[in-house]
Symmetry: C2
Subunit: 196 residues, 2 copies
């Protein structure tokens, strides 16, 4: 099978998987549902992914890479004050959830809670992605501290981590309520107080 | 069947379900696994619960009621300053996760993310429990504001809600890392800054 075909089928499986797994959860859908949506025979799935868990790891990478490509540049936009960039960055992430009317939440949180207790590969992947999420955020917060627009009393890396975790909690509540209210409350309330 | 027997079998199903569902997720286990652990025939399950989703709702109620009975009194302990009560309350919740070496996280978060997109009954139950979680917390925060030990700039109900959501995010990270570090970071960093 030529490599180009491999890549194209692999991509189709990942696109179909992102949609179905995000909506139904990992254990809430089978390989057959994913292969059917991708238009390939079920047996071919394991030519591309050794296990269903290995597929989850690739879904997570694809999910976060695409968000990061779209939104991390906001944190590096030197035309804006660093604190304003952080606010815009979280707003952009929230808007992404609006496209599904807040019904799906964040795939990292969903797969982390569903699979961490049994899948070391998924745990390691989520852990890695949360670190990669925090790095440009911490850099931006550090820049705000250097410019004197953010208190130096808080370590920028810890601050980035707690903001991400708090946002994940808000996204969980948003999924429960199917509402942007928890995201707005995160932005107008928690974020403002933490960025004083 | 006498009512006492009904209640006893029902309790056994809920105890078995709490353990199995918390570890494997809702879709990661079947009714048979739960009935086998409870020592009852599979067919009897539906004498007690109309659907597996209705069972999830009862698991959530049982899970939160038992935590609330154990820990909400901390928030009403007038021998302590209100802010100290809030800190002790979250520490007590975190210690509860330590018993499973931080491998399981919070059942509310897990079922919220796994089932919200398809089960209105689970969404409504999680929403209700998050409100019930917030009420005594908001009352305690309001008391701190009346005593002047907490800024009045933040609405106590909003503050209670964002603290719970941030704690849920920390618990998610704790489950990924199997570590108390995110809980400690929540306590020493986010909570302190939010309770200024």
């Amino acid at each position: 099978m030529p490599r180009t075909l491999n890549q194209e089928v692999r991509s189709r499986l990942i696109s179909a998987g992102l949609k179905i797994v995000h909506e139904h959860g990992f254990n809430g859908c089978g390989v057959q549902e994913i292969t059917a949506a991708a238009g390939i025979p079920k047996g071919s799935f394991y030519n591309y992914f050794l296990t269903k868990d290995a597929f989850a790891v690739e879904l997570l990478e694809s999910y976060w890479s695409s968000l990061s490509t779209a939104f991390s540049p906001i944190l590096e936009n030197t035309q804006l004050e660093p604190v304003a960039r952080v606010e815009l960055f979280f707003r952009a992430l929230s808007r992404e959830h609006q496209a599904q009317e807040f019904a799906l939440g964040c795939l990292l949180g969903t797969l982390a809670l569903e699979l961490s207790s049994r899948s070391p590969a998924v745990r390691n992947k989520v852990s890695d992605l949360l670190e990669r999420w925090a790095q440009p955020l911490a850099a931006c917060l550090g820049e705000a501290q250097e410019r004197g627009t953010l208190s130096e009393g808080l370590n920028a890396s810890d601050l980035a981590a707690v903001l991400i975790e708090a946002w994940e909690g808000a996204a969980m509540r948003g999924k429960v309520l199917r509402s942007d209210m928890p995201y707005r409350r995160f932005e107008s309330f928690l974020l403002r107080q933490m960025l004083k």
